[in-house]
C-alpha cells in the first residue's frame, strides 16, 4: 500500500559557474511514496512555476537508469541512497522518512563546472573518451562471432566495465576530484578484449594524459567512488589502468 509523504526539499540554486550559489527550500505535501524522486522534483517545479518562481534546473534524460544523465547529490550521497546499483532517476520517495528535509546539491568538482543549479558540465568525460576510448581497427564486413575466441570470464568482465554510464558520481564522491574509476572502466572495457589490445598502450596513455590535463585529481585509493557507483564498477579497474599505464610507459 502506497503511503503519502510530506518532505522539504532543500535545493541548490546557482546562476552559472562564477556565481556563489545558495540553497532554497520548498515543502512538498502528500507525495505518494511510489513517486520517483525526479517526479517529485517535477511536481516541485510545477508548484514553483505556478507561484511565479524560477524552476529548479537538474539533468535527466532516459529516467530508466541507463543513460547516465541524472546527477544529483542527495543527502550527502551521489544519486542518493538508492537500491544497490541505481541512478538518481531510480530513487523513489519510499526511501525517505515523513517530514524529512532532503538536501539536493550538484556534483561539486572543479572538473564539472555548474551550468545552472544542479546541472553540471560533464563534457570533460567526452573529451577523455575522444582522446582514446575507442578502437580504430577497420573491421570490414561483420565477422563470424566465433572467429575471435574470448574467454567467458573476460567477456563478462569487459561487459561489466562497459556498463559504466559516465554519470560522474565517482568524481562527485571523491575527495580528490579524481576521475580514475570512470577512466579505468573505459580503458578496461577495451583492454580486456583482443580487439582492444593493439591500441591498449596508446589508449591508456592518451586517456590518462587528457584526464590530467583537464584537472582531475590524483587517486589515493579511498574507495569512495566504488561505494557510490550506480553500475558497481570496482577499483580493480583502477589497478588495471595503473598496470596498463605503467607498462606502456616502461615500454617506451
Amino acid at each position: 500500500m502506497a503511503k503519502n509523504l510530506n518532505v522539504t526539499i532543500k535545493f541548490w540554486k546557482q546562476n552559472g559557474p562564477k556565481d556563489k550559489g545558495h540553497f532554497e527550500t520548498h515543502d512538498l505535501k502528500n507525495i505518494p511514496d511510489d513517486t520517483s524522486f525526479l517526479e517529485a522534483l517535477d511536481i516541485m517545479n510545477e508548484e514553483l512555476i505556478a507561484a511565479g518562481k524560477e524552476p529548479f534546473v537538474f539533468d535527466h534524460d532516459c529516467r530508466e537508469g541507463i543513460c547516465g544523465m541524472c546527477s544529483l547529490y542527495i543527502n550527502g550521497t551521489p544519486h542518493g541512497k538508492t537500491e544497490r546499483g541505481a541512478t538518481t532517476c531510480q530513487l523513489y520517495m519510499r526511501r525517505f522518512k515523513e517530514g524529512e528535509t532532503i538536501t539536493v546539491e550538484p556534483w561539486r568538482s572543479a572538473g564539472f563546472p555548474v551550468i545552472k543549479d544542479c546541472m553540471v558540465d560533464r563534457t570533460a568525460f567526452d573529451k577523455i573518451i575522444q582522446a582514446g576510448g575507442y578502437t580504430t581497427v577497420r573491421t570490414g564486413a561483420p565477422q563470424d562471432a566465433n572467429a575471435i575466441l574470448i574467454p567467458k570470464q573476460d567477456a563478462d568482465e569487459a561487459m561489466d566495465c562497459a556498463s559504466c554510464i559516465g554519470c560522474g558520481a565517482c568524481v562527485a564522491a571523491c575527495k580528490n576530484g579524481s576521475a580514475m574509476l570512470f577512466v579505468s572502466s573505459k580503458v578496461s572495457q577495451l583492454a580486456l578484449l583482443p580487439q582492444g589490445r593493439p591500441e591498449a598502450a596508446k589508449r591508456a596513455k592518451a586517456m590518462v594524459a587528457k584526464m590530467d590535463e583537464l584537472g582531475f585529481g590524483n587517486c589515493t585509493n579511498t574507495r569512495a567512488c566504488e561505494a557510490v557507483c550506480p553500475k558497481c564498477e570496482t577499483i580493480a579497474n583502477i589497478a588495471r589502468l595503473n598496470r596498463e599505464f605503467i607498462k606502456a610507459k616502461l615500454a617506451d
Partner: protein, 238 residues
C-alpha cells in the same frame, strides 16, 4: 618525464618510496627486539650501524626517501584540493567501505613527521650525529650505547606516551598505505585486493606491536630487558 607529470607517475613515486619505508620500518622493528633480549647484542648492532660510510650512505638514502615521500604527499594534496574545487558539500555521508585512514593520510603523515623529529632528536642526534661530529659524549652515554639511550628515553613517561601516539599514527598510515601501494603499482584486482588488505593489516600490526612491546617493556620493566648473556646467543661474535 611521466613519473613527475602524470597522476599515475606521481602516485608511483608515493608507492615506491612508501614500500621502501615499510621495509626499513620492518628492519628497524626487528632490530629493536634484540634490545629486549640482550643489551650487549643490541649495542653491537649500534656499533655496526655507527658512523661508517656504509651506514652514512644508507642513512642518506633513507632520508632522501622520506623527503621525496613527504614532498609528493604535499604536491598530491595541493593538486587534489584544487581538483576538488572550492565548493564544499553541505551534507556528506561517508560510505562504510571508506576507511578513515584513507581520507586522512596527510594528517597521519604529519604526525609521523613530528614523531620522526622527536625520534631523531632522542636517538640519531646523540648517537650517529655525535659520532660524525666527533663529540661522542653528546647525550651522556657512549654513542654506540643505544641500550642506555633506550632506557633513558622510555623511562620518561612523556616520551613513552609520545612514542605510543606516533606508533598508532604509523599503524593507521600503514593499514591503508600497504594495500594502496600495491593498488598503485597495479598489482591488485578482485582477488588480490582482499589479500593485500589482509597482508597489510597483519604486517603493520605485527611491526607496530613489536615497537610497542619495546617501548612498554623499557618503560615498565627496565630491569628485565636485555638481560640474556650475549655470548650464549647463536649469532654472537666470539
Amino acid at each position: 618525464m611521466w613519473l613527475f607529470n602524470s597522476s599515475i607517475g606521481r602516485k608511483l613515486i608515493m608507492s615506491v618510496t612508501g614500500i621502501a619505508l615499510v621495509l626499513f620500518v620492518t628492519f628497524h622493528g626487528c632490530m629493536n627486539v634484540v634490545a629486549l633480549i640482550s643489551g650487549e647484542a643490541y649495542n653491537t648492532i649500534c656499533t655496526l650501524l655507527g658512523s661508517n660510510w656504509y651506514a652514512i650512505a644508507a642513512t642518506t638514502g633513507l632520508a632522501a626517501l622520506v623527503v621525496i615521500h613527504i614532498i609528493y604527499a604535499f604536491i598530491l594534496t595541493v593538486q587534489n584540493r584544487k581538483a576538488r574545487g572550492n565548493n564544499k558539500y553541505a551534507v556528506t555521508d561517508k560510505p562504510e567501505k571508506v576507511e578513515w585512514a584513507s581520507q586522512n593520510m596527510l594528517v597521519l603523515g604529519i604526525i609521523v613527521v613530528l614523531g620522526l623529529l622527536l625520534h631523531l632528536f632522542n636517538f640519531w642526534y646523540n648517537m650517529m650525529f655525535a659520532e660524525i661530529i666527533g663529540n661522542p659524549m653528546q647525550g651522556g652515554f657512549e654513542p654506540t650505547d643505544g641500550f642506555s639511550y633506550m632506557k633513558q628515553t622510555f623511562g620518561n613517561p612523556i616520551f613513552s606516551c609520545l612514542y605510543i601516539i606516533w606508533l598508532v599514527a604509523i599503524w593507521f598510515h600503514l593499514t591503508h598505505g600497504m594495500w594502496s601501494a600495491m593498488q598503485t603499482l597495479g598489482l591488485s584486482g578482485h582477488v588480490w585486493f582482499n589479500r593485500w588488505k589482509c597482508i597489510g593489516q597483519v604486517w603493520s600490526t605485527i611491526i607496530i606491536a613489536l615497537f610497542l612491546l619495546v617501548v612498554l617493556a623499557f618503560w615498565f620493566c627496565p630491569d628485565c630487558v636485555g638481560q640474556c648473556d650475549f655470548k650464549l646467543l647463536p649469532f654472537a661474535v666470539k
